[in-house]
Amino acid sequence: MAEPTVAAAYRQIVRSRVAAQASYRTSFAVEVVSQVFIVLVEFVEVYAVFHQVDDLGGFDFAEVSLIYGLSVLSFGIADLVVGHLDQLPFYVRTGTFDALLLRPLSPLGQLVTSDFSLRRLGRVGTGIAVLAVALVAVDVDWTPARVLLAVVTPLAGAVIFSAIFVATSTIGFWVVEGMEFTNAFTYGGNYLSSFPFTVFGTAIRRFFTFVLPIGFVAYLPTLALLGRPEPFGWPDWLSWSSLPVAAVAGWLSLLIWRTGLRRYVGTGS
């Protein structure tokens, strides 16, 4: 029999994690339902705003719903896959992280597969629903490029959020109470990404586009889907750039993670 592969190792770990959660059916169902409920309550907030005004920063209700749907789905996927990385300080404090280093697999890969919270599927499912309805409701001049963009954007957004999770959780190698730091960027970024950036001031718009690339999750691709120029004169190609931006962000986050790991092992200082 041939030697099993690394992929097979991860597959077995994930399968065992999923099975462990599925054995608590009732609590699983309750958690999924509550996740769906949270997303819907957030959406009511959007609805309430449009009950008062006809447009928000130049976007109507359907268009803001599209931004919101892209944001929820992107964050949902990232949260499902890497959301538990904010537990790193706990792993470091208890010595669990050392145990991962004693195995012949990447510690990041092991952390990612260590806790697959299926309840987060609730957010993903609701995100897909909101996005689908919004895509039908908005007025899009569908071209093959735009269809592709609509499919790729949630994945690119998920990679961007995952990169923020990975990069900011690295703080756990330095700070014992690093979880709040991670959450400030991830949950904070999630909240900001669901707005049309036209409601923000220049400094905030720039920071959350070129430093923390939250604008590429939903706002900019929505402009591209609607065929609308960026109101503040940014070039059109920027609105189509979510995928390369996600690739760069993902690569940078892995560099940061490796720096943190080297610091933990003590190569750095």
Binding site: P4, S16, D98, A99, L102
Partner: protein, 337 residues
């Protein structure tokens, strides 16, 4: 902490030509610590947890790594496993450089650290072993054979399907040792493997490790505070103090170097006078009107046989035992000498 010394088992597999399993050369590891210097000021200090340690361990050896808490034992083990990089010096384990080739090394070594469990808390041992088999990319028949062997020898059958979180310490430790051996490593690192275990569990674990060495020639490095562990398992001791290696040699050599005393306990047939003037001994204590007396002697001055002969010439002897110095006592004397 007393009992007769059983001779350590010499493994049949001793390859003289091959490279040592562990090569540590002039290794130093510093940590930066912050101390309060009054008010909000803090000063940075560099403290060496391991300070210029060198040793090699050959294939098939079992070495006890001894020292007080904070002497640098854990730091050394972390460096050997690649969890920590040395500040200076060179380190090779199984011919690999631990931090740079950590993943490759992980397939060649097994480790049991108290707090660093390899088991999945919410899974039974059976599932943990299956996952570890996959993690180490072992063919099914390889890890299953090994698992069945360990399950039988360590008597884990009755609790193989119980979630790990419900196991007793002794049961869990047996699982940890199996987890560390599932991929048949060349080197087994054990950090206080018997701490907190009852006598029976300790002894069954020791027998298992003795057998593991005999059958497979597995090299073992263990830290312990338990003298019987060393007596049963190790033919060689490394003693560290304040990050430096202060002794490298057999247990008997350590005892003679620090002049630690052995004690002959004699039981007489009836009450007798205190045996205060047996040559080369000091009378430690007398019990039950002299029916049991403790005579301490230095191994380099006389022998247990001479002491017993001298006692037997004076009074009728019924029974006797020889007790060895306590490991803590031996190490303490080493530090103060």
């Amino acid at each position: 902490m007393t009992g007769p010394v059983t001779p350590p088992v010499t493994p049949p597999v001793t390859r003289t030509g091959g490279r040592p399993v562990v090569e540590v050369r002039d290794v130093r590891r510093e940590f930066v610590v912050h101390r309060s210097a009054g008010g909000f000021r803090r000063t940075r200090h560099r403290v060496a947890a391991v300070d210029g340690v060198s040793f090699t361990i050959s294939r098939g050896e079992c070495v006890g790594y001894i020292g007080a808490n904070g002497a640098g034992k854990s730091t050394t083990i972390k460096m050997l496993t690649g969890i920590l990089v040395p500040t200076s010096g060179s380190l090779q384990v199984c011919g690999l450089e631990p931090t740079r080739q950590r993943a490759r090394l992980a397939r060649r070594i097994g480790a049991v650290f108290g707090q660093r469990s390899q088991l999945w808390w919410d899974l039974p041992l059976r599932d943990s072993f299956r996952l570890l088999g996959a993690v180490h990319r072992l063919p099914r028949e390889a890890w299953e054979t090994r698992r069945d062997e360990c399950v039988e020898l360590l008597d884990m059958g009755p609790f193989l399907d119980t979630p790990v979180r419900q196991l007793s310490l002794g049961q869990r430790m047996r699982g940890e040792v199996t987890a560390a051996l599932l991929h048949s490593p060349d080197l087994l690192l054990l950090d206080e493997p018997t701490i907190g275990l009852d006598l029976l569990s300790k002894e069954s674990l020791r027998s298992f490790l003795v057998r593991e060495r005999r059958e497979r020639g597995t090299t073992i490095l263990l830290t312990t505070h338990d003298l019987p562990d060393i007596e049963r398992l190790c033919e060689r001791l490394l003693v560290v103090d304040h990050g430096q290696l202060v002794f490298d040699g057999p247990l008997a050599g350590l005892v003679s170097r620090v002049g630690a005393e052995r004690v002959v306990v004699v039981d007489l047939a009836g009450p007798g006078p205190p045996l205060a003037d047996i040559p080369g001994t000091t009378l430690r204590s007398v019990e039950a009107d002299g029916m049991r007396q403790h005579l301490a002697f230095r191994p380099d001055e006389t022998t247990a046989a001479d002491v017993v002969a001298a006692v037997a010439a004076r009074v009728p002897l019924r029974d006797l035992t020889v007790t060895e110095p306590d490991i803590e006592d031996v190490v303490r004397r080493l530090y103060t000498s």
